[in-house]
């Protein structure tokens, strides 16, 4: 009995010391040209969505926070919805991901999310909830929006900004080079991606 307690205590304290690895930083970012980190998240209708389920399709990941002025720029102008529609029609899977932690800006209950999506007239395949930020960190998502494109084999082929005009001004959209649009067009046509990564711009992801 005493012997057992001693070992339990020792193991407990050692475990405690080892547990210090807990305060995590943004992990290794997903790298273009490498397999995209796998994940399973619950969407706003309560369904489990795994990246693996979409093998054979192009997948877009869009980090989202409706209260962020950069996100408002692309939804308020209809730019994001247009992009979604254009590629959903071509069989692309569009996943909007929220990594806002509980209590932080952009974290809502699923019902509220569905209202927001409807109000924005957005049509993502699903809105995924990542409140503990695991998937956000695995991808190295820094901003909202931060965009990723994954090819049919599950390889990350684009990571970065939605376009080349970092601003909150919707007037900048017509003159901007939409990296996501270009990458998807090139990828679907079987061409190499001209710009496979760029600097993301936006609000910080509210981990």
């Amino acid at each position: 009995m005493m012997q057992k307690n001693g070992w339990t205590l020792a193991a407990g304290v050692l475990g405690l010391l080892a547990m210090l690895a807990l305060p995590g930083r943004a992990g290794a970012a997903a790298v273009v040209g490498q397999p995209a980190p796998p994940f399973t998240l619950t969407d706003t209708s309560g369904k489990q969505q795994s990246l693996a389920d979409f093998q054979g399709k192009f997948v877009v990941l869009e980090w989202i926070n409706h209260e962020c002025p950069f996100v408002k720029k692309h939804y308020g102008s209809g730019n994001m919805q247009k992009l979604q529609k254009k590629y959903l029609d071509q069989g692309v899977v569009w996943l909007s991901v929220s990594s806002s932690a509980p209590g932080k800006q952009g974290n809502y209950p699923p019902a509220k999310w569905n209202e927001l999506t409807a109000a924005a007239k957005a049509s993502p395949t699903a809105v995924l909830l990542d409140p503990d930020g695991t998937v956000g960190r695995a991808y190295g998502a820094k901003t909202t929006p931060h965009m990723y494109v994954i090819d049919r084999q599950g390889t990350l082929i684009y990571a970065g900004g939605i376009d080349d005009k970092p601003s909150t001004d919707p007037d900048d959209i017509p003159g901007a080079k939409s990296y996501v649009d270009l990458a998807l067009t090139e990828a679907i046509a079987g061409q190499p991606i001209a710009v496979a990564s760029s600097t993301p711009y936006g609000c910080s992801v509210k981990y």
């Binding site: 012997q3 020792a10 080892a18 002025p69 901003t143 609000c203 992801v205």
Partner: protein, 748 residues
């Protein structure tokens, strides 16, 4: 609607508690929660509206924006400087030219009269602003971004020059608000001699001081590509901290620590290459900032633009291991091991280890009659416990640092989760020493009635426990040894940690192997029980201290949480002792043990749930005001230090943390002395305090620049350019007064 995390935690804890609290307690807790909610609501009052297009300041949300002149009037054809001024609400920031991981730099679009032109915005060096796992570069408080304006030569005396511009910016705290304002500035034209506008001269001077100087003569820099890193090698580098702010996004990882080493006048700053980047970094542009200033003019910041070349092409001297700061000679490996053994020995008499140590002494008294072989086994089991714990700690620390974390020794106590766990452990140990319950913990059982031939696990556990509680008491000799260890390859670092553990275990191992020594200890008797119970009080004192540390880290709610948690734990221990003994029927005993377990877990959960997320609120002691003893401490930052140094002021820096007992003792013994206080005041020495109670990467880097990875550290900068003087980790009035006297001589 945003909700305060502490509030959520509070309601969770409230729910957990409601099950067994009296109605009165519930009413009390509801009142507290309501108060918290009211406070949160009061804090969320929205601010200001957007402005209109007129001359003068424009009040926008969380920031006031204005075009300010550095001159009273314009001379035709003669360039002058105006500035875009942001005055920010507390905790809000605007961004630098490169905003870092998120955000957006402010822009100006000029509408200027014919013949007048304006240059680009100039950028004083920013500060690193951490947002969760991300890092931004920006400004808090007030900043002026200077712009040079070349007025038309055709202007005449008596004209008014109207400068108009549209400013766009993003202001963020954690949430971001874009802002836009049409700004204007009207200046009279006159041929009179140029004169500065005194109203904004101070702000311009500050901005100019922070503008990077260009020209390679101030800091010859070389950039070398290593695996996954770019190393900036700075010749004739100033001592102390150096930080790099990259101008281009996606070249280096913003949030990664910049590891600085000094070696014979050359400073090497290792930058982690951006993970998103696929091509090698060809050029590095940005601003280098040194607290001690570059070159003969002590420029705090220099602009660099260097080509990056491969390590192979670099001069061969790259292999040298750089340790220690300019003021401290590098340690030889054997000396470091020696210091480590000595440091380990000293840990035994440190206040945090003493209670655990006393239990070990009791154990020895008990064992005086054991066989010699048995005793040796116990000694070795204890040593194994100590060593294994040091290896686990060192392993975690090295792994985290390899992963890019900026951590130093004592980092455990920067984690509130760890502090809470230690509070519970020590509280339970104290209860056990007092005899509230005897079954549980092997350590206590050892001191009591363990039959001969048993309890090896207990000896092992004592070793583990002693190490866990010892870590904050960074013994005076451990600072240099651990700083050295962390710059070494993993295997050598582990050797240093092993030496440390060996030093700590040494006295007991010696006792066990030389049984003659044991006979010198007093014989067991009734006094033993009294002594055992008395030893509960140092443990409880440690609990009090840790609760204070937790309060500084996580706020007063966390104290409430941990105290409620301890209440539940006390209840659990009592239930266990009262109803869980062998004298009770088995069924009842089982229920009691289960209830006790559930209660302890509920206690721990409550303590952790009420833990506030604000880990950055910590201040070890009053900073910014006079301390208890009348010394005027200001919070340390690289920028503050650089400013004071540039102004020629001598500076004393106290690197400290609430959980560092050595620091507290030093502060009490030395800074309370009127002679020391007067010496500081007479010589006009600025006092800066770097508080490492919670994680702070900037301070970790500053410590690293002195070859340290833990506190305390005391650094005295003289009036002149000489390298700063590092004072011993154990301060005496004599040592400090003698060092301060040197400062005075330096001036003469």
């Amino acid at each position: 609607m945003r909700t305060d995390p502490s509030q959520q935690g509070g309601s969770r804890a409230g729910r957990g508690l409601a099950r067994r609290a009296s109605r009165g307690t519930i009413v009390g807790i509801v009142t507290i929660l309501a108060l918290l909610a009211a406070l949160a609501a009061a804090a969320a009052v929205p601010a200001g509206a957007t402005g209109a297009a007129t001359a003068g300041p424009v009040a926008a949300e969380h920031v006031t924006v204005e075009l300010v002149p550095d001159v009273t009037h314009v001379r035709p054809g003669e360039s002058f400087v105006v500035g875009l001024r942001f005055a920010l609400e507390k905790d809000w920031h605007v961004y630098w030219a490169n905003p870092g991981d998120s955000g957006l730099a402010p822009t100006l679009r000029w509408q200027l009269p014919e013949g007048t032109s304006a240059g680009e915005l100039q950028w004083p060096y920013p500060q690193r602003i951490a947002v969760g796992p991300l890092v931004n570069y920006g400004y808090e408080g007030e900043v002026v971004l200077p712009v040079e304006v070349a007025p038309a030569a055709t202007l005449r005396d008596g004209d008014t020059l109207r400068l108009a511009a549209r400013a766009d910016w993003l202001v963020c705290k954690e949430d971001c608000i874009p802002g836009r304002a049409d700004l204007a500035l009207e200046l009279p034209v006159s041929g009179a001699p140029a004169a500065r506008d005194w109203r904004s001269a101070g702000a311009f001077d500050e901005a100019r001081a922070k503008l990077p100087r260009s020209g390679s003569t101030t800091a010859p820099v070389e950039a070398v590509r290593e695996d996954g890193r770019v190393e900036l090698r700075i010749s004739d580098a100033p001592p102390g901290e150096i930080t790099f702010f990259p101008l281009d996004a996606d070249h280096v990882e913003n949030a990664a620590p910049q590891r600085l080493t000094h070696d014979r006048g050359t400073a090497t700053l290792a930058l982690v290459t951006s993970q998103q980047r696929r091509e090698p970094v060809e050029r590095l542009r940005g601003t280098l900032v040194a607290e001690a200033g570059f070159g003969p003019q002590k420029a705090p910041a220099v602009a660099i633009d260097v080509a990056v070349h491969d390590a192979a092409a670099a001069p061969a001297e790259a292999g040298a291991v750089a340790v220690g700061a300019a003021a401290e000679a590098p340690l030889s490996p054997w000396l470091a091991l020696g210091f480590a053994v000595l440091g380990g020995l000293l840990l035994n008499v440190m206040p945090c280890v003493f209670p655990v140590l006393s239990i070990k002494v009791l154990d020895f008294v008990r064992r005086a009659g054991d066989s010699a072989a048995r005793l040796r086994l116990h000694g070795l089991a204890y040593a194994a416990g100590v060593l294994l714990s040091f290896w686990v700690l060192a392993g975690v620390l090295l792994a985290l640092r390899a992963g890019g974390e900026s951590l130093g020794w004592g980092f455990q106590l920067q984690s509130p989760v760890f502090v809470v766990a230690m509070i519970f452990l020590l509280f339970a140990l104290a209860a056990s020493l007092l005899g509230v319950f005897d079954v549980g913990l092997g350590v206590t059982a050892l001191a009591g009635r363990v039959p001969q031939g048993d309890g090896l696990a207990g000896s092992f556990a004592t070793g583990v426990l002693a190490t866990a509680v010892a870590t904050p008491c960074t013994a005076p000799f451990m600072g240099p040894a651990l700083g050295y260890a962390l710059t070494l390859p993993a295997a050598s670092a582990l050797a240093v940690f092993t030496a440390l553990g060996a030093g700590m275990a040494l006295p007991y191992v010696v006792l066990c192997f030389v049984p003659g020594l044991l006979r010198l200890l007093p014989r067991p008797g009734a006094w033993l029980e009294t002594f055992k119970q008395a030893m509960a009080f140092p443990l409880l004192a440690t609990v009090v201290w840790l609760v204070w540390v937790l309060g500084l880290q996580a706020g007063v709610d966390a104290i409430l949480g941990v105290l409620i948690g301890l209440l539940l734990l006390a209840l659990a221990l009592w239930v266990r002792a009262r109803f869980g003994t062998l004298a009770q029927p088995q069924a009842k005993r089982r229920v009691a043990l289960a209830a006790s377990l559930v209660l302890s877990l509920a206690g721990l959960a409550t303590a952790l749930a009420l833990r506030d997320a604000r880990e950055d609120v910590a201040t070890a002691t009053a900073v910014g005001e006079h301390d208890l003893y009348g010394n005027a401490w200001r919070p340390w930052s690289a920028a503050t230090l650089a400013e004071l140094r540039a102004a020629g002021s001598p500076v004393f820096v106290d690197f400290t943390a609430a959980w560092c007992l050595t620091c507290k003792v030093n502060e009490h013994v030395v800074f309370s002395s009127p002679e020391v206080r007067d010496a500081f005041a007479e010589r006009g020495i600025a006092l800066l305090r770097a508080d490492w109670t919670s994680r702070d990467d900037e301070i970790t880097r500053a410590l690293a620049s002195f070859g340290r990875s833990g506190v305390p550290l005391y650094v005295l900068y003289g009036r002149d350019d000489a390298a700063p003087r590092i004072l011993p980790s154990v301060l005496t009035r004599g040592v400090v007064l003698e060092a301060l006297a040197q400062v005075d001589r330096g001036r003469g």
